[in-house]
């Protein structure tokens, strides 16, 4: 289920503006990779190139290659829609579909991928996905109620359930806890630890303690100044990054000297 991602010589542009330059990294399967760095350094932009979501913005394009299990995600014959079915995403703010019930939200992606599933299968899938997102016990009595009636943390777990219901290879999380309180954050972090047994997880976070808690590997991004492209400064085991980073900039950032 989980797959490895290799990124080579990746440059990301918004029209002529180079937003991110020269990314080289490997994301290991069944692990959590965290991206940290100051605002505007391109970590979210880079995350969104891993499932081609950045293309939603007009004028955005990339040079270089992102390969998942040997397949170039930017190959000529690759449909971005197919990529996104393999690489799920959880956003900064919880975004369950307000017009759908909790159960329909979980099934939203499944219904896109194959239209016809039996009622029994659908129920199983809802239960399985909600169990997987540690939300089942809280919502099992109100599956037909709107998802927007849940608390922020529950909504975010609903979004995770929705993402894993389609059984992706990779799960991208763009600051999934930044809009949540500490208790909900803890619940999500526990969930991430469980999910990495099955999925390759990439998480962008502004919270360095969170990166230290949940990730196996950490990548530090930085930019030289405004108008300059963001760059990957270094990527290493999380323990190494937080104890003895190779680069001075990383050291300065994690010790709170800037950013």
């Amino acid at each position: 289920m989980a797959q490895r991602i290799d990124v080579k010589d990746l440059n990301i542009f918004y029209r002529d503006f180079k937003a991110v330059a020269d990314i080289e990294m490997a994301v290991e399967p069944r692990s959590v990779t965290a991206f940290i760095g100051p605002s505007g350094c391109g970590k979210s932009t880079f995350l969104r190139t891993l499932n081609r979501m950045h293309e939603v913005i007009p004028g955005a394009h990339v040079q270089g290659s992102v390969t998942m299990d040997g397949v170039d995600l930017y190959g000529n014959d690759i449909d971005p829609v197919a990529v996104r079915r393999q690489v799920g995403m959880v956003f900064q703010r919880p975004n369950p579909f307000p017009t759908m019930s909790i159960a329909e939200n979980v099934l939203a992606g499944v219904r896109l991928n194959n239209k016809r599933i039996s009622k029994g299968d659908a129920q199983d899938m809802v239960e399985q996905s909600l169990q997987g997102a540690n939300l089942w016990n809280e919502v099992k009595d109100r599956l037909d109620r709107p998802g927007s009636g849940l608390s922020g943390g529950q909504q975010q777990r609903l979004c995770i359930a929705r993402a894993i219901a389609v059984k992706p290879q990779v799960l991208l999380m763009d600051e999934p806890c930044s809009a949540l309180d500490p208790i909900s954050t803890l619940a999500i972090e526990d969930l991430i630890a469980e999910l990495k047994a099955q999925y390759t997880i990439v998480i962008v976070t502004h919270n360095m303690q969170q990166a230290a808690r949940v990730s196996d590997r950490t990548a530090f991004f930085n930019l030289a100044g405004t108008g300059q492209p963001g760059r990957l400064i270094e990527i290493d085991d999380t323990a190494t990054i937080f104890s003895s980073p190779r680069e001075q900039a990383t050291e300065d950032y994690i010790s709170g000297r800037f950013g």
């Binding site: 979501m53 829609v81 996104r84 956003f91 975004n95 307000p98 017009t99 896109l112 709107p146 927007s148």
Partner: protein
């Protein structure tokens, strides 16, 4: 409202004895919220809100008062005075076919206009390149500025001859379908032609409102759908359309209101009749309330005018009922509207 008569904040706090400065300042602040421009604005908005109710009540009262003689006079007496009623057995018998014709024409127009309007609105909001979208939006808005008498002329002189062969074909080949049965009119001055013109007339308002609603779809929800692997159409189906549903219904009701009350276009195109007839390709079958009033008004005596106004009252009631029904539809799934 109680604060509006209180004296200015400062003098009242000055007279209230020794108080801690902070408390005095707080009291001053609370009154400041209802002073000057803020108070003027509150009165203005309240007044505007009340005005619409007053206008509506005035129209309703006008209709009831003017229709009263026709409604209360015994029917035999009324029929003697009013030539319009010579073929009817009661007032209800007279207004019934008119209500039927009005609703049929408006419903047909709505059925044609809503899908097209949603299509145009989606194209402008989600498919077209920005420059084209702006231009197209402008053209659609221009459609709304064309006077209805021009639509009437266009329908009668241009559209009718154009669609007549189509209507003849429909009648010949799909004549088993009740709507297309009967004798096809050689001039095509029939209800289906009217419905097309009405559809064109209500297209701009439905399109404009739908477009605005679709543009309001939160980016978050669109991205949620895309990130699940939705194509653009699937994204529209899962995120945009459900979100815009109540807005589109409101837009359709605005359009329906206009179609129900449209006078000139119907008057100039339709060959009228007073039957409960679904034959929309045959001449002399239906008539709408508004067009009937306009057609009969110049030659009506006082009691005739009162009768016509009674039919107008019926139109007023229909419009109210339709709007309330639409509200009910929108409210039924309020929890899922995305407004919470």
């Amino acid at each position: 409202m109680s604060t509006t008569k209180s004296p200015p904040a400062r003098s009242s706090t000055a007279g209230s004895g020794p108080e801690p400065t902070s408390a005095r300042r707080l009291k001053g602040q609370r009154r400041a919220a209802d002073r000057g421009a803020s108070r003027v604005f509150r009165w203005f908005t309240t007044g505007a809100g009340a005005l619409i109710l007053v206008l509506l009540a005035a129209v309703a009262i006008f209709l009831v008062v003017k229709a009263w003689p026709a409604l209360t006079t015994p029917y035999d007496e009324l029929a003697e005075q009013v030539g319009l009623l010579r073929n009817s057995s009661s007032l209800l018998d007279y207004v019934g076919p008119l209500i039927f014709g009005t609703i049929l024409a408006a419903a047909l127009a709505l059925v044609m206009a809503v899908p097209v309007a949603i299509g145009i609105a989606l194209f402008i909001s989600h498919y077209a390149p920005r420059r084209l979208a702006n231009g197209l939006g402008y053209v659609i808005d221009l459609l709304a500025a064309v006077p209805s008498v021009v639509y009437g002329l266009w329908g009668a002189l241009v559209l009718s001859p154009l669609v007549q062969p189509v209507w003849a074909w429909l009648n010949a080949n799909l004549g088993w379908f009740p709507l297309f049965s009967g004798t096809v009119s050689p001039t095509a001055r029939v209800l289906l032609t009217v419905a097309i013109v009405l559809a064109v007339m209500i297209l701009p308002i439905i399109t404009a409102v739908s477009r605005e609603v679709f543009l309001q779809t939160p980016r978050l929800h669109e991205e949620a759908a895309l990130a699940l692997g939705a194509t653009r159409w699937e994204m529209i189906r899962t995120a945009v359309l459900p979100f815009g549903r109540s807005g589109v219904i409101s837009a359709a009701m605005l359009g329906l209101g206009r179609a129900l009350g449209e006078t000139m276009a119907v008057l100039m195109i339709l060959s009228p009749g007073f039957l409960y007839s679904f034959r929309i390709l045959e001449a002399g079958q239906q008539q709408s309330i508004a067009a009937n009033i306009a057609a009969q008004f110049p030659e009506a005596n006082p009691m005739g005018v009162s009768t016509l106004i009674a039919t107008g009252l019926a139109l007023f009631v229909i419009t109210l009922v339709v709007n309330m029904a639409a509200r009910a539809i929108v409210a039924r799934r309020k929890d899922f509207s995305g407004a919470n």
